[in-house]
């Protein structure tokens, strides 16, 4: 039986891991993720979850444990944030290169220096090119759902997935979350079937040194060189969106909630102006859209739930009607602009050549409050620029102080 509980985002992530019957957990606490390993420790120590919990001494080791446990066929779980994720960076490449279906919630937090424990998305956006898929959540229900969905997708594609959600704004905020029964989750997500089994009679050297050019094995079959392995990862990521859609269709059938669209859309049908954003900012932007609509501005929101693989074509179509876009981001590629802004422009160039006015806004770094008034201001500025035909040189920082 489904039931509704009032949970924080961290509790939802931990409960999702339990429902997915993860077999090995390795995690190191970091604010604002700490509650996830705490809750999971309790599940394991009380015997409610049959799993090996490895209380590692660092995030680098957390991912090291997950990689090797996954290699021998276990369903594995970890979670982190900010500098913990940055510390894992080397291992993230290794996990994706080794094609391991690891699922990892990231409670998004700003990176030092200077220190902040509060929310932005610089941590996970900076891991964009590691070969992991990235899902972004808007509320705590999505955290629970996306973790369950992520295991199904990851194990089908053999690609690891980060399930990202805003630190404190979601990790520490309580919301009602509909909890599926264990039987429902078991039916949706059967036990992990690893693609190969360890056999002492047929030993293998996993993740060995690979040469540039293909080399023949003793039977004369040409085996891939380094680029061959890397190209396969890219090809599988290019073909991953339909797999997400297919899994989402099965998810809707099982649980009634619908994630087939990699985009969250609010009031987009007739919109001339769109906020393009990610994560819980999508909800804040939706509130602002209601205010703008009261002013008579046909505004809407497009929020990306899937950032890797990048849904370029779907996003291009979603903004095709609007002639004015404000891209609101809690991260920046220093020296240029927000990653989403760059990628949106690239998608338009490649897919339909649509050239709306696009203004990029950097907001909410280090937990800075994003006020509806700020977003209203960004909308007015972008609309004004569209009328005057002015273009933006550099991203604008909203809520800037001293």
């Amino acid at each position: 039986m489904e039931q509704t509980l009032i949970l924080t985002g961290n509790q939802a992530a931990a409960l999702a891991a339990k429902l997915c019957r993860v077999q090995v957990i390795a995690a190191y606490p970091i604010t604002p993720q700490s509650k996830i390993p705490e809750v999971l420790s309790e599940y394991v120590e009380r015997g409610e979850l049959k799993a090996e919990f490895v209380r590692v001494e660092s995030e680098h080791s957390a991912m090291g444990v997950c990689i090797s446990a996954s290699l021998v066929g276990a369903r594995v779980f970890t979670a982190t944030a900010a500098n913990g994720l940055a510390y894992m960076h080397e291992q993230l490449h290794w996990a994706a290169g080794a094609r391991l279906p690891i699922v990892m919630p990231v409670a998004n937090r700003g990176l030092g220096a200077p220190w902040t424990i509060l929310n932005d998305m610089q941590d996970s956006i900076a891991q964009r090119d590691t070969g992991w898929m990235q899902f972004y959540c808007q509320d705590n229900q999505q955290i629970l759902d996306q973790v369950i969905l992520a295991y199904r997708v990851a194990e089908q594609l053999l690609i690891p997935i980060m399930v990202c959600f805003d630190g404190f704004r979601l990790s520490h905020t309580m919301m009602p979350v509909s909890i599926p029964s264990q039987e429902q989750v078991d039916a949706f997500l059967p036990a992990f079937q690893p693609p190969y089994l360890l056999d002492p009679e047929r030993p293998v050297n996993i993740n060995p040194v690979v040469m540039t050019d293909p080399i023949a094995d003793p039977q004369g079959n040409l085996c891939p060189g380094y680029m061959g392995f890397r190209r396969r990862l890219q090809e599988d990521l290019e073909a991953a969106l339909p797999v997400v859609v297919e899994a989402s269709t099965a998810f809707e059938k099982a649980f009634g909630r619908c994630y087939q669209d990699p985009l969250y859309r609010y009031q987009t049908e007739d919109a001339d102006f769109l906020f393009v954003t990610m994560g819980s900012l999508s909800s804040e932007a939706s509130e602002t859209v209601d205010l703008l609509r009261d002013e008579g501005i046909k505004a809407g929101v497009v929020g990306l739930r899937v950032f890797r693989p990048f849904p370029a074509e779907i996003l291009s179509q979603a903004v095709q009607r609007a002639n004015c876009l404000a891209v609101i981001e809690k991260a920046i590629s220093y020296g240029y602009e927000g990653a989403l802004n760059t990628e949106l422009k690239a998608a338009l160039f490649s897919h339909n050549g649509h050239r709306p006015t696009i203004f990029n806004y950097v907001v909410g770094l280090g937990g800075k409050d994003v006020k509806p008034a700020d977003l209203v201001e960004s909308a007015h500025e972008t609309l004004h620029a569209a009328q005057n035909g002015t273009r933006q040189e550099h991203p604008r920082w909203l809520g800037r102080e001293v």
């Binding site: 077999q23 680098h60 957390a62 290699l71 002492p200 009679e201 993740n207 085996c223």
Partner: protein, 299 residues
Amino acid sequence: MATAILDLPEQEFVMPGTRTCAGCGLPIAYRYILKALGPKTIVTLPACCLTILHGIYPKTPIAVNAVNNTFASTAASASGLAAGLKATGQDDYTVLAMAGDGGTFDMGIQALSGAAERETNFIYVCYDNEAYMNTGVQRSSATPTGAFTTTTPVIPKEQPKKDFIQIMEAHHPAYLATTCSSYPGDLYNKFVKAKSIKGTRFVHLAIPCPAGWLFPTKDTIKIGRLAVETGVVVLYEVENGVLQLTGKTLSLARSGRRRPVEEYLKLQGRFKKILPEQMESFQQQIDLRWEQLLGRAGF
């Protein structure tokens, strides 16, 4: 008594065709380690000389399952293997983690300390060739005083070797042993024993390296023996805090016929610039440790 060569198991897990340098001590030791541990072994290794030994895809001369991992995470990988094998009901495998002195004394120390403190069920071998040999003989914290390396090219290393075995003993592992590739019987016995014990087992394995230590490739066994005969390497094992000398070291302790360190140092080109006072200090350090270890062993 060390197992006699003729009494070792015949099954080979290190096939001909390894890619180590000529005269390398590592494949000699690895052969007996795997004979002792048997086919149900899974080895995890970082980027190191052992990676070279394991060969280039799609071929490998090693007939046990192996996992390559990042430099700093050998013991974390072993923790993952132990946890994953247990969680999936495959825990009849022996998990063997094996890294060089760079991957152990230096970059791997954090993960190893963590895994040992967690009493992870695995055997960790540090094969110590006293510098970053795989990358071209750069100084490590295991390099002894007076040795020149490619990052101490003009002034030989001034600091003494890190006493890593003591660091590991402070973790109170279930089993701790030292051994050397020149004594296959001693080495084999220790791995047979290590396999029979549960928990964290740490083995320090001294490996002469002709390419980095600058001696003729025919002398690998001789140099390893001299290391033991001079007391630079002391063969022992520790269980429940009790230290026992083994093999050649035990007979040296009984006979008192330890050789001067100079005999070991003078055969290696890496020590050609060692100063007389460094040589003297080296001998004093070896004497002090010899007395301490023999005292603990009841001599």
